[in-house]
């Protein structure tokens, strides 16, 4: 099975957020970046499918130079090669623009399966995989926890709301967006990290892919959220704060 996994590099979850001078995004200098969590699960699913059925796992990622470190991480975990779509101005694109880049880069590979995480931790639009499927004319399923290969295609376990699930069958080639938690994530081994250095990373300039880039939706500005409630912060040492909280639980919340 030839599997392409689209991955995204996102700011680390605990990163300190500071809005930039233009008020359009956060200050990126000094930020630490990581592989988007549900993309890590998509990669894991791809690696396990390859272990069961053979084939090749190719990762594709769009972004500036720094994205290279996340691509190397995916190669160290076991992906065979990578495509890095080089673009510095991804922030001004909308999901359709990004999906057009990914679709153009993936199309010549003609994979049997394209996997990606269900949504990114930074923008959280949750659309890239579905739009890529639409652009490539492939069937898709979203929020997938488990993938099984069948004679004719795939049988996948899809998550629904409130603890419900559904099995969906679909032919290949297909696009799946992967929900986190379906598998246990692997760590890169030392050997894997060493091997990753010699694996192929093909860099493609976004301009070479010649896709239409004019966005149809625009992130105009960013703001810090307003508190919905006034939180009473209980100060002091751990012991003092704990004692203050017990008072509140006893006399105001009345649960003790």
């Amino acid at each position: 099975m030839k599997i392409v996994v689209a991955i995204k590099q996102v700011p680390e979850r605990d990163a300190q957020i500071c809005i930039d001078a233009a008020g359009k995004w956060i200050v990126e200098s000094g930020l630490q970046y990581a592989l988007n969590e549900s993309d890590a699960y998509a990669l894991e699913e791809a690696l396990q499918l390859k272990e069961r059925h053979g084939g090749e796992v190719i990762v594709v990622s769009a972004g500036p130079e720094r994205v290279g470190s996340t691509i190397r991480e995916a190669l160290a975990k076991g992906a065979d090669r990578a495509i890095h779509i080089d673009c510095d101005d991804l922030g001004s694109s909308d999901p359709l623009g990004v999906a057009r880049l990914l679709a153009a880069a993936v199309k010549p590979e003609s994979p049997d399966l394209l996997l990606t995480g269900l949504q990114s931790e930074d923008l959280g639009l949750g659309q890239t995989g579905v739009i890529v499927a639409e652009l490539l004319g492939l069937p898709h399923a979203t929020l997938i926890l488990h993938v099984e290969k069948t004679e004719t295609g795939l049988k996948v376990k899809r998550e629904l709301e409130e603890g419900w699930f559904q099995t969906v069958e679909l032919p290949t080639p297909a696009v799946l967006t992967i929900q986190s938690g379906g598998n246990k994530l692997r760590y890169a081994t030392l050997m894997g990290i060493k091997r990753a250095k010699t694996k192929e990373v093909r860099r493609v300039a976004a301009a070479e892919l010649a896709v239409e880039a004019a966005p149809v939706v625009l992130l105009e500005r960013v703001t810090l959220p307003q508190k919905q409630k006034s939180t009473q912060i209980l100060p002091g040492t751990a012991k003092e704060a704990a004692a203050a909280l017990v008072e509140k639980l006893k006399f105001e919340v009345r649960v003790l």
Partner: protein, 325 residues
């Protein structure tokens, strides 16, 4: 037509609350833009549901009805709604941000050269649409700049459904029959199922202690279990804890787990991503213990302790035990 088209979602013959919230968002948008609202309901036997919508929404309700829409498929819904939108030419299409909408609406928008502004929590003059970024730590204000319909999906709980106006004349109901061929539907959906009978009913728990990523390791779970035991509370968790297998899935609170509204919800090391908040923000009292003072959980908490949970939790367990003697 021009106007605002709202897509009402049904499951097994029922209209969920989030669809009425989407109707409320559509009405707010329509009032801002001076446009009429229409609703569409998609399925195979939508007659009584359409009447239910028509009773609460002046204007027009369209039944997008076809035997091939009896069961949800992304292909069926995308094709049917594409045809409806091309025929009706709305300026705005408003949808509830459900798992189903997440499955087809991005493709539907893309097919019409548009991008869905997803998971919107507010809208205002412009119109501009606010959505959460970086797991709720930042808000982004979006504007539609393309020509063609603007697609928006709204987050659960973000818009308050208006009370039905019993004096209003019920909406006119129209039928739209899309052209669909079974060969166009490429996926085969099976009946939804539950993984196992749920033995833990967090929904009826009065006190809940819930643990998140901040606990760092499975070996540290007993620390929080002890606090729960001292309080006489049920132990629950955010998604990453259950994903890692540290606690069973049936203890998960959030959009993909259980929705709870206990008297006390004590969140330990939970940052408060929106997927978690939707499952617990109805709690009567929320207490958060987190080392990050900017964590979104503090936006909904009544009481907060900013500190290292590995110091605060044992101190709290001891204080609770002492108080109960």
């Amino acid at each position: 037509m021009s106007g605002v088209l709202v897509i009402v979602e049904q499951h097994a013959g029922r209209i969920a609350r989030i669809s009425w919230e989407a109707v409320a968002a559509a009405q707010k948008l329509a009032a801002l833009q001076g446009l009429p609202v229409r609703a569409a309901i998609v399925g195979a036997q939508t007659e009584s549901l359409a009447a239910e919508v028509a009773a609460q929404l002046p204007g027009k309700v369209v039944r997008v009805d076809h035997p091939l829409l009896a069961q949800y498929t992304a292909d069926g819904f995308t094709l049917a709604l594409e045809q409806l939108i091309r025929a009706e030419r709305p300026d705005y299409v408003v949808l509830p941000h459900t798992y189903q909408v997440r499955d087809y609406a991005p493709a539907l928008a893309a097919r019409l050269g548009q991008v869905l502004i997803s998971d919107v929590v507010d809208l205002g003059e412009g119109p501009v649409f606010t959505r959460q970024l970086l797991q709720g730590r930042l808000n982004g204000v979006y504007r539609h700049t393309g020509t063609g319909p603007c697609f928006v999906s709204v987050q659960a709980g973000a818009f308050r459904p208006s009370d039905p106006d019993s004096t209003a004349t019920p909406a006119e109901i129209a039928i739209f029959t899309p052209t669909l061929d079974p060969a166009q539907i490429r996926t085969i959906p099976c009946e939804p199922f539950r993984a196992s009978s749920q033995s833990v009913d967090l929904g009826s728990a009065q006190l809940i202690v819930s643990v998140g990523r901040g606990i760092k390791d499975a070996d540290n779970i007993p620390l929080v279990q002890e606090l729960a035991t001292a309080l006489g509370a049920e132990l629950a968790a955010s998604r990453p804890i259950c994903d890692s297998g540290w606690l069973p899935m049936e203890r998960q609170v959030g959009s993909s787990g259980q929705t709870v509204s206990p008297k006390l919800y004590l969140a330990v090391g939970i940052s408060g991503a929106i997927q978690h908040l939707v499952g617990m923000k109805g709690s009567q009292c929320i207490v958060a213990i987190n080392k990050d003072p900017d964590a979104p959980i503090f936006e909904v908490a009544d009481y907060g302790i900013v500190g290292d949970l590995f110091e605060v939790v044992p101190a709290l367990t001891a204080a609770v035990r002492a108080a109960k003697v």
